[in-house]
Symmetry: D2
Subunit: 135 residues, 4 copies
């Protein structure tokens, strides 16, 4: 299923002290934490935790592109919109956008390619997770 055909997953986050830096906006690296929380919400932390605690398998980030269009400040409410698609047997690509309220375009957008690692950090085919079938 192509990611543009998919209804976006929404995660609402209100910007906390921990997200910001002294210049007054969200620290650039911290969007990756917000996007990781969005992916955990899409996949299900329980699903991920079961896989990890049972057989030490886990998703790992392989590549990221990220673009910063607008600053976000303490107290702003972000709507993190996520779509995704499987590419072949070994990759899932997540498309994240962070939207401020009433904005005309996303403040930050990112494409994140993940792979599935087995217990010896070997790349394995992506398991048939529910979120890959969901629309």
């Amino acid at each position: 299923m192509n990611h543009t055909d998919r209804k976006p997953h929404h995660l609402t986050v209100q910007i906390s002290y921990e997200d910001t830096d002294h210049s007054g906006v969200v620290y650039h690296a911290n969007y990756l934490k917000l996007f990781a929380r969005a992916r955990e919400s899409v996949i299900g932390i329980d699903t991920m935790a079961d896989k990890w605690h049972n057989d030490r398998s886990t998703f790992a980030v392989y590549t990221i592109t990220i673009k910063y269009h607008d600053g976000v400040v303490f107290g702003d409410e972000l709507d993190i919109r996520t779509t995704w698609e499987k590419e072949g047997d070994y990759r899932v690509i997540f498309y994240h956008e962070a939207w401020k309220q009433n904005a005309a375009k996303p403040a930050v957008s990112s494409t994140i390619e993940v792979v599935w690692l087995g217990p010896r950090k070997n790349v394995l085919p992506i398991p048939n997770f529910d979120f890959l079938r969901a629309k």
Copy 2:
């Protein structure tokens, strides 16, 4: 109002990758972020953001004691229970506990004393916030 007379505020947090370290449990410093999110929820981020963006006033942490009783792993759901009391005109003390599900005692507990700083980082009397009157 004494903090033990107060009904605890509850914040539920499910432990994310970002919270953990390589030993497999939540990194000790990251509980302070979870407790800060709990305080932001008690006080209201909007309330805090208004004060900050309008006159550069904010709470600042003055002292912390924290005790670690049990490890918490990826996927665990924590119930962060927070009570608080005002002490004189210049201090609010927050009592935080992080409870794992079905636990007999908190995994982590902390007492955090905060003060109110004006725009020149001068200590001022605590404003008459709603959360101080709430029961």
Copy 3:
């Protein structure tokens, strides 16, 4: 000056608890902190701090691409190699590589485009910093 003509800047970092996550390797977002420390070392924190504290001007990250080739664990010593080039009047591009000892290729590589923001978060021409002239 093209970045490939430039002698790389080296920053040595030994991986600390704070850098890692429960899967046993460095958390993906934390490489951006290590690369930011490398840029601060190239530019000079004192230079950046003077600009910020005097007129609220600062670099801001505009785009990032990052590729993860190998995991890095607690205690590993990384050689962060950084080159850079100015592109037009408004952008500096930094090329970061994180090398483990005796590795045949970098564990992580990243291209990070930065712009210069004035006190109202307006994009301004990059000031004539020493690091842009250095070879």
Copy 4:
């Protein structure tokens, strides 16, 4: 050996973007990261990494008290002074102070009690590390 008889260990840290929050000073939780780096420097990351990678044993923080006396801003150079003492067979207590240049008192001070955990997160006697014998 009592900690007051010990010559302090010094770690110099210049405050980076990642350390700060939107109020303009170092985020309160981040001092625990700076102090953890100081302990890693005292103990030796290599020593800690060997123990971890060989038998999954590690120090864990048991209690912390921390007091914030002064704000620290981007670019400030901190001298982290650390002393320590063993208390019985099961605890080491670290005393950390973060000093700004030319300051009359520490900006932040902290007492951190650590224990030694075996591979099943069981508390074990502290191994006979070099740093416990050093003066």
